[in-house]
């Protein structure tokens, strides 16, 4: 049933789309590279688009099957004209095609300038997908390697006619099995299908690759980052992770002797360390969990950045979970800038500092100093935003907290995305707490003085004293 659906759909879409303006575009060639080295699937497609219609076209539509669109973490489209990059965009708004049966999601891309008729332009589409690699078998023993299955469409999914296309899978190692097609070639760890010529829009033919992948399957099911700004010159960052090994589950328990005696053979799919790249000038780094410090870590710093190599409490096998938190301090002047009109601009890089990790749910809490006003957030991608108050360090009115929440965050977010937070802050508030402390201690002393001088006794103490003295 499911197999048949795409075909009927293709026909259906064809009918609908043939009447639209889109059909005037033709993809003259597509080369699609699917990188399966880690648990994050990165797909790069190099498209050549030709306008065969009578009009100039200003919009290009990218199509993804829903299964991919659901797990699409981020996408970058680069528009090339005569080999030069003239524009790049992160498409975020998606539309569903009008047809109700469609299991496609469309991402319209507005071209920077209209593609004139008869002209050709290049489009590079970079897509990052998560959760698409499924372990098969689902449970492995410690001695076995992890095998994954990746399923895709052998043809480039597009609402346009494609003249010439090919698809390449880049694999980390041994291939267990793969779909057989007549036009295919396996060179070392590269599996190439194609070229296929003259395919109608939404052509579909499944391709399945079953391969070995022992790279660390670190998935952060929960990641909370708290960034606390102090106008005394410090930014304190705390990151809390709950990490799961998202690969094939471990079966039959963990044997330390096998793991220690033969590290290369045993526990190939497990990982013991995670590497976090902290911003340059990070200091006061800590790494701990709810039961204390985790003493096995290494910190290397240079001008490019600080690298924190964290050894986890135990080696992570499939299905195992662990949680920990790291924290570090940064100099404020690297992140805070003054814009016009007395606004402070805080420049935050979004995403986890741990390399090659998928974050299922990320919450960033930016704690601004007490007394900040007129807060606004600018980000290049949609996030759930909210504001709350936090009380710490002798606060009275509380610090405004900007909360940003996003699902499915990948390392690419760290590379390309920034968040800007604008707010107003009067530096006179810095003195507030010092004054408060001074006043408090002054009052304490004052009360001491008053107590020492006041006679709180009900009876005349002095007379009683004299009386007793006299008795002596």
């Amino acid at each position: 049933m499911e197999c048949r659906l795409p075909f009927s759909l293709v026909v259906f879409c064809l009918v609908i789309l043939s009447s639209t303006v889109r059909s005037e575009l033709v993809i003259s060639s597509v080369e699609k590279f699917v990188d399966l080295h880690s648990h994050i699937v990165r797909v790069v497609s190099f498209l050549k688009v030709e306008n065969q219609g009578p009009y100039d076209v200003s919009e290009f539509v990218l199509a993804f099957p829903d299964a991919q669109a659901k797990n699409l973490a981020t996408m970058l489209v680069i528009y090339l004209e005569e080999g030069k990059i003239i524009y790049s965009e992160f498409p975020t708004s998606s539309t569903k095609p009008k047809s109700k049966q469609s299991n496609m999601t469309f991402y319209p891309v507005t071209l920077p300038k209209k593609l004139e008729k008869g002209k050709t332009a290049g489009l590079d589409v970079y897509v990052v997908l998560t959760n698409l690699l499924k372990p098969l078998p689902k449970e492995i023993t410690q001695a076995e390697s992890q095998l994954l299955v990746y399923t895709d469409n052998i043809y480039y999914t597009s609402p346009y006619h494609i003249r010439n296309q090919s698809i390449v899978f880049r694999l980390p190692g041994r291939i267990e099995s793969y779909s057989e097609y007549s036009e295919m070639r396996l060179v070392e760890s590269e599996l190439r299908y194609g070229p296929f010529e003259e395919q109608p829009p939404f052509s579909y033919s499944p391709v399945v690759v079953h391969f070995e992948n022992n790279n660390s399957f670190a998935v952060a099911s929960n990641f909370v980052q708290e960034i606390e700004i102090s106008h005394w010159g410090n930014v304190q960052v705390t990151e809390q992770y709950t990490i799961i090994h998202g690969g094939a589950h471990l079966k039959n328990g963990f044997s330390r002797i096998d793991y220690q005696a033969n590290p290369s053979m045993s526990g190939a799919s497990s990982f013991r360390t995670l590497v976090a790249r902290l911003p340059p000038m990070s200091h006061s780094v800590y790494y701990r969990d709810e039961i204390g410090n985790i003493s096995t870590s290494h910190l290397r710093g240079d001008s490019q950045g600080t690298q924190l190599e964290m050894e986890l409490r135990f080696p992570m096998f499939g299905g195992w979970k662990i949680s920990f938190s790291i924290g570090y301090s940064l100099p404020l002047h690297d992140f805070l800038f003054e814009s016009d009109a007395g606004n402070n601009v805080l420049n935050i890089t979004f995403g986890s500092s741990i390399e090659e990790i998928v974050v299922e749910n990320q919450i960033v809490r930016v704690v601004l100093p007490q007394g900040s006003k007129d807060i606004s957030v600018k980000s290049r991608f949609p996030t759930k935003k909210s504001q709350e108050l936090k009380y710490s360090h002798l606060d009275i009115v509380g610090r405004p907290v900007v909360v940003l929440e996003k699902d499915n965050v990948v390392p690419e977010h760290k590379r390309y995305f920034q968040v800007y937070i604008y707010y107003k802050f009067n530096n006179i508030f810095l003195l507030g707490k010092a004054m408060m402390l001074i006043l408090g201690i002054f009052l304490l002393f004052l009360m001491c003085i008053l107590y020492m001088h006041a006679d709180l006794a009900l009876s005349k103490t002095s007379s009683w004293e004299e009386e007793t003295e006299g008795r002596k």
Binding site: G253, F254, R256, I291, S295, R313, F314, K321, I322, L394
Partner: protein, 788 residues
């Protein structure tokens, strides 16, 4: 004119001395706090050992759920399936203290975690204890002795061992409460003020909340009262100091759920009631003596004595009968082992199995109180010159605590404050005598060389030199009236005494010649002072060393220094973290009771037994399972819903306090309840051995198997680095358990109970598999065991 000047300068000196002593006390507090931070600096800010984890967990619960839920807390994560009523079985003082501190900090928006507060509770209260010691010793022997005693207590190793940062245990606050209660008692005794008597009851209440050691107070104070009465020192002050304490204190103590009616029903408290009766009788006698003539009084005495003795005999007989009717004779096991040191090891293996309940050895005295052991006798002598109510109390406190410390290592902690007070008194008195004679010689020297110097000079030097003495020897009445003393006495009626003082000033040489015999030679006193300072220096060095090296290890993280640097063994937390994250929330974990508190606190999993050893049978069940063969153990554990079994194994890295070394207690406690476990089956030549000479039972019990499963594969020989020999049975398979996790250094091994097998095989095969695990091991292996 001259006198007003003298008075002005002396009051200034007093003010200066006051500020100085406040400043010194502040510094003592800082020292007491900071000397305990070695554990945080060398290791980390973490809760230590076993019991503190439970206290930490209770504090977490308290801070999360509030005080009312705390009182009603039924903990279902421990003693499965019995559970434990935490609110009614825990001394709440420590938890409430830390919870209050945390709440206070949080209400001021100071972001401290519960853990941080718990870690630093003990050092903070050590500073308080030092100040309380100052107050107590000041009441006994004056400010100088007080400050010295406070300084000594601030760094006494015995106390440090229980109160380093992270050692979040009852003793941390209890020692402060103990000293403070004693201070208030002495203060009441010295002043006769009902205000202090009330405060004393409250302090006693705090002590009852904090520690089971409160029985020490409620027995020591009556002893002292009795001593005072017997030695004819009864006074109304004594009555005020004692009677309100017993009435209010007992009422308040009964409010603490864990004590409850024990405050009136157990033998530990009977002494106080008896003395309470006696003091009333004595008070009555004194009253009657006051209103009767001596002759009438004599008649009354004989009459009352004859009747009284008869009544007393009856009452005592009833009491004895009542007490004797209860099985432990009304005394709890721990208290009984105090009176009879051999009691515990004879009857209660569970008490004897705790290392801190063993009697201490002589080196541990030297380690824990160091030079104080030599200063204490001098302090006792000083207390007898003169003997006051307060100093007799100090002596009594010392003597009783020396006895108790000889019974149990743990009670060394009670001895430490007493030793500090005595040493403080001794040092202060010695310094007083020595500096006084030095001053005397120096002034004499001055006067000899400046014979023509005007009288004024002599006056100023003598007043100056005697002023500090005034502080030190305030309560010392044996001293002959000195210049300064006269000045002090005469301060109110200065004008009248003017001539007298001036007389004394004019001819100080003659005045001092009179008391020459009390003065030591200059050289001797200089050398003695020097030696005392060296002694103090040695003490400080020892304390710092003890704090830094001996007592700061948190025991959940171990370190070792090898040729390639520091090596950290963090296996316990590795295992607990694994349990916490990779088992189901409601899974039950069985281990020996030592690890119960840590498992519930760090791994958040339900345990069968824990360090609160309230149910001997339950512990014996686990002990029996550990000492049974695999199948029997599996059945026991399965009946308790256990899913994981945790054992601690030190054989790979040489960690001595592992489960094999504790195994003897598992057998003994298990065998005490379940007679089929016989200790003799595990012994070879009277020893627990796991090498080739070990018994068959030993090599087939669960503990052996879980500890050494696949151990031989590490080095090929199975060499145990704790026991220092090769293990007896090297190759075997587990039939009813499977290994699920072993930590990096093999210190903690976790096994899972295999699910029950389907009934497929024949009955004979199955029974063979279960009961004779030796014969069912892998066929290829060679049998090396001698009994095969």
């Amino acid at each position: 004119m001259a006198t007003s000047k003298v008075e002005g300068s002396s009051s200034l000196r007093h003010a200066f001395g006051g500020v100085l002593s406040v400043f010194i006390l502040l510094l003592i507090g800082v020292v007491a706090f900071s000397i305990r931070l070695f554990s945080v600096i060398k290791y980390e800010s973490v809760i230590h050992e076993f019991d503190p984890y439970f206290n930490y967990r209770v504090t977490q619960f308290l801070s999360k759920n509030g005080i009312y839920d705390f009182w009603n807390w039924f903990d279902d994560r421990t003693w499965y399936p019995l559970g434990r009523v935490i609110g009614g079985t825990v001394y709440p003082g420590l938890t409430l203290t830390a919870g209050t501190m945390w709440k206070l900090a949080n209400s001021l928006n100071i972001p401290l975690s519960v853990e941080t507060v718990c870690v630093f509770t003990a050092p903070i209260f050590s500073a308080f204890a030092a100040w309380a010691t100052y107050l107590l010793t000041k009441e006994v022997k004056g400010t100088g002795a007080g400050i010295t005693a406070a300084a000594i207590l601030a760094m006494v190793p015995s106390y440090i061992s229980r109160s380093v940062a992270g050692s979040y245990d009852n003793e941390a606050v209890a020692i402060f409460a103990l000293i403070f209660t004693f201070y208030l008692y002495i203060k009441t005794l010295n002043t006769g003020s009902l205000f202090y008597a009330t405060l004393n009851s409250l302090a006693y209440f705090y002590m009852v909340c904090s520690w089971g050691g409160y029985t020490f107070i409620i027995n020591l104070i009556p002893m002292h009262v009795l001593l005072c009465i017997v030695t004819g020192r009864y006074s109304s002050r004594l009555y005020i100091a004692y009677a309100p304490l017993v009435v209010l204190g007992t009422l308040l103590a009964a409010l603490v759920p864990v004590v409850g009616f024990n405050a009136v029903m157990t033998s530990e408290h009977f002494g106080s009631f008896l003395v309470f009766i006696i003091i009333h009788v004595v008070a009555l006698v004194y009253y009657i003596k006051g209103i009767l003539t001596p002759r009438l009084f004599k008649v009354a005495t004989t009459l009352v004595l004859t009747v009284g003795i008869a009544v007393c005999a009856v009452v005592v007989a009833i009491l004895v009968a009542l007490v004797a009717s209860s099985p432990t004779k009304g005394w709890s096991g721990r208290s009984l082992s105090l009176l009879d040191p051999t009691y515990a090891s004879k009857y209660i293996p569970i008490i004897a199995s705790v290392s801190e309940h063993q009697p201490p050895t002589w080196p541990s005295y030297f380690m824990d109180i160091n030079v104080l052991a030599f200063l204490v006798p001098a302090g006792i002598v000083a207390c007898f010159l003169p003997l006051s109510d307060a100093s007799s109390f100090a002596v009594l406190y010392l003597v009783t605590s020396v006895y108790f410390s000889g019974v149990m290592v743990r009670l060394m902690l009670v001895l430490a404050p007493a030793a500090c007070i005595m040493s403080g008194i001794a040092l202060s008195e010695a310094f007083g005598v020595l500096t006084r004679s030095m001053k005397f010689h120096i002034t004499k020297y001055f006067e000899c060389s400046h014979t023509e110097a005007p009288a004024k000079l002599g006056e100023s030097t003598s007043t100056e030199s005697s002023a500090p003495l005034e502080n030190m020897t305030k309560s010392d009445t044996t001293e002959k009236p000195e210049v300064a003393r006269k000045e002090k006495v005469a301060r109110r009626k200065q004008k009248k005494e003017k001539e007298l003082t001036e007389n004394a000033h004019v001819k100080p040489v003659s005045a001092k010649k009179e008391k020459r015999p009390l003065v030591l030679p200059l050289e001797a006193s200089i050398v003695s002072v020097f030696l005392l300072i060296v002694l103090g220096g040695l003490y400080v060095l020892h304390c710092v060393w003890a704090a830094a090296e001996a007592y700061s290890a948190p025991s959940i993280v171990l370190t070792s220094h090898s040729h390639d640097g520091l090596h950290v063994f963090d296996d316990f937390r590795e295992a607990y973290a694994w349990l916490r994250h990779n088992t189901e929330v409601d899974d039950k974990v069985a281990s020996w009771w030592d690890y119960g508190y840590q498992t519930t606190a760090m791994a958040n999993r339900t345990v069968i037994v824990d360090n609160n050893t309230w149910n001997n049978t339950h512990i014996a069940t686990v002990g029996t399972a550990m000492s049974s063969p695999e199948k029997a153990a599996w059945e026991i554990f399965n009946s308790l819903d256990v899913k994981y079994v945790l054992v601690v194994f030190g054989g790979l890295v040489g960690y001595p306090s592992d489960d094999i070394n504790k195994f003897l207690w598992m057998v003994r406690i298990g065998g005490g309840v379940f007679p089929h476990i016989k200790e003799a089956d595990y012994l070879k030549d009277g020893q627990y051995r796991v090498d080739a000479q070990a018994t068959h039972t030993m090599l087939n019990c669960l503990m052996y198997k879980l500890s050494y499963y696949r151990f031989v594969e590490t080095d090929g020989k199975g060499f145990d680095r704790v026991r220092r020999y090769e293990i007896g049975k090297k190759h075997f398979k587990l039939t009813h358990f499977e290994e699920v996790f072993t930590t990096h250094h093999w210190m903690v091994r976790i096994y899972k109970l295999k699910p029950q097998k389907n009934r497929i095989r024949g009955k004979s095969r199955k029974s063979k598999l279960g009961s004779k695990s030796t014969s069912s091991k892998s066929g290829g292996m060679t049998h090396k065991n001698p009994w095969n």
